[in-house]
Symmetry: C2
Subunit: 363 residues, 2 copies
């Protein structure tokens, strides 16, 4: 990865809780970092940053410029909670997480979904989602024709972004194989990358995505030759992901398909509450649980902190701190395997705070 592995004494982490249970899980990520054993030589400084729909309702701005500036100037990494974007059109409002990904150049959204051995369906895949374009450019217009409204949105796929995400996917496949060879457990013996598209219909746009990723693969046989290259049409992929999830290792997808597939993959491991992600650019990373703001359980203190805790570990991983990241991952796995101290979404009775403490005591 492009991150330095030199260990500074103090890392500054931006905390952006956002809305709803974002406010309950981000503090969990903070506690985890504070509780890291001193052997890793890391100290943390935290900066509380604003963003979200509530923020918009207060100040008229969902993502204050100040938040982006502080991230760029003063932070080494960040954690983002969740936003409760309205589904209806609110004048002047636009999803702050979508904007943040773009403004910070976080072109990849990396979403691993791994079973805990013995619990649930065997699955060990990572979805590498392009994070800046596709329909997420939000270039939309609406007009009238014969008194009837017609709306259009542009789906944009660029060679540049497709190449970058393709490269990231193959590198992640190699890295996963490397970790496996060091003795990490996995369903896979050898690496594979599956490219998602719908180019039987969108031969030009999804065609460009598919071709560009394929070219990345073919351009460096010395480096990527050990990886199996596969393709799936997005609808068929949803079917196969549920029928035979164990066959997928790294999955690379344009933005929207990646969004849809990662929620689907989350269903395989029992709860969105355990699925983490990292928004990754060339020089910054934001950890983000994949779940939403969950208004139904907000304020009850029972939000599952696991997704955020794993996202915190992913943040460290992409910043180059493999060892503390591995420590966090294994503490979480132990908690899940024991299956005693879990939140209600996993069938348990524990609170957010109890789960945090149960994970910390395993450090």
């Amino acid at each position: 990865r492009a991150y330095s592995t030199a260990v500074p004494k103090t890392l500054t982490i931006g905390l952006i809780p956002g809305d709803g249970i974002g406010k309950e899980v981000i503090p969990a990520g903070k506690q985890i970092l504070q509780a890291l054993p001193s052997q890793y030589g890391l100290n943390f400084k935290f900066l509380d940053l604003r963003a979200g729909f509530e923020e918009f309702q207060k100040s008229g701005v969902a993502l204050p410029d100040e938040t982006v500036e502080i991230l760029k100037k003063s932070c080494d990494g960040a954690l983002f909670g969740a936003v409760s974007s309205p589904t209806y059109k609110v004048k002047g409002y636009s999803s702050p997480i979508v904007a943040l990904r773009k403004k910070m150049g976080l072109y990849a959204n990396v979403r691993p979904v791994k079973w805990v051995e013995g619990v649930g369906i065997p699955v060990d895949m990572v979805i590498v989602r392009e994070n800046t374009e596709d329909l997420y450019i939000k270039e939309e217009r609406i007009y009238e024709k014969n008194g009837q409204k017609i709306a259009e949105a542009i789906k944009r796929i660029s060679e540049n972004a497709s190449r970058k995400i393709g490269k990231m996917a193959f590198e992640i496949a190699l890295n996963r194989q490397h970790v496996r060879e060091l003795g990490g457990s996995s369903l896979h013996k050898s690496p594979s990358v599956t490219v998602i598209h719908k180019s039987n219909v969108l031969s030009v746009s999804d065609g460009l995505f598919r071709e560009t990723v394929k070219k990345v693969y073919e351009s460096d046989p010395a480096r990527y030759g050990s990886i199996e290259y596969k393709e799936q049409i997005v609808d068929s992929m949803v079917y196969k992901m549920f029928r035979e999830p164990a066959q997928f290792d790294v999955v690379v997808a344009p933005n929207l398909y990646g969004d849809i597939l990662s929620d689907g993959a989350a269903a395989l491991v029992g709860s969105l509450g355990v699925v983490s992600s990292a928004n990754v650019g060339d020089d910054f990373v934001i950890g983000e649980p994949t779940h939403g703001s969950a208004p139904d359980i907000q304020g009850k203190g029972i939000a599952n902190p696991v997704a955020t805790i794993r996202s915190t570990a992913m943040m460290l991983e992409f910043m180059g701190y493999q060892e503390p990241a591995a420590k966090i991952f294994s503490a979480v796995d132990e908690n899940l395997k024991e299956n005693k101290v879990t939140t209600p979404d996993l069938g348990g009775k524990s609170s957010t705070q109890e789960v945090v403490e149960d994970i910390i005591r395993r450090f």
Copy 2:
């Protein structure tokens, strides 16, 4: 529905097998119609029609004008098999099923997914997919900027098409409730319609879809008041569909989300080989299995004919012939419940032809 319930003596059915196993399952649909008990007073005449990738390779045209003309002039309904659209760009080629839906004005793709009681996960839903627009208009372009390719596709959502598909969804919900009240088995006590969108990001285009469907609902409380109105964001829907499928009755979606969701729903009932669909317009219907051309099993005589047989029943249903349709559906259900004569995709050892005969003997 807009179809006449008067029973003519002879119905002319266009048969479009297409590619791969399409050629093996369409004859199954034909046999089923031929074997219908005489009590229904129906005779069938069949017209063999050309379309598909193989056809394109032979003649340079994937959907001959003649096929469309004959459907319009001479057919009362039709069955379509499958096409093996290439995922790479082939000059002059364009998916014939996408074109057919548009040219015949078949604005709805209706895809029921129902468990056989006692077999698998409880699910009883129907996906009502808009069938003519969204990204399927295939208005794409590609250009260069600083030596890098950029491709764009337009996603179009119109008030007209959204209203029509919304209306169809609410009418189907009422009809399903009607069938339930006549004693049909179901997971649902009361009807609901769930609208799928991603308007937290696409507030204009998916926003128009969502609003328009909602307006249809609100415009006729006397008729639709008994239906529960719900909404789901597409990514969240994939998650919920797998976690709690039993809660969904009618699901209405723009074209692409409907495509993706219906493959996902198929995974719930064990095999794409049992999931049927109907492409429905105001005055024509084409039954179509949701599976593809399946080159891996082509020519082996083991393709599951159930999806096509159910699609044949759906065709009759939308043409106004409820009773023979119900007879076919229940013969299929009995075959599946007994679980003796099934094709390999369902874990069985029978051939396509054996399954067809096992179903026919139950008429």
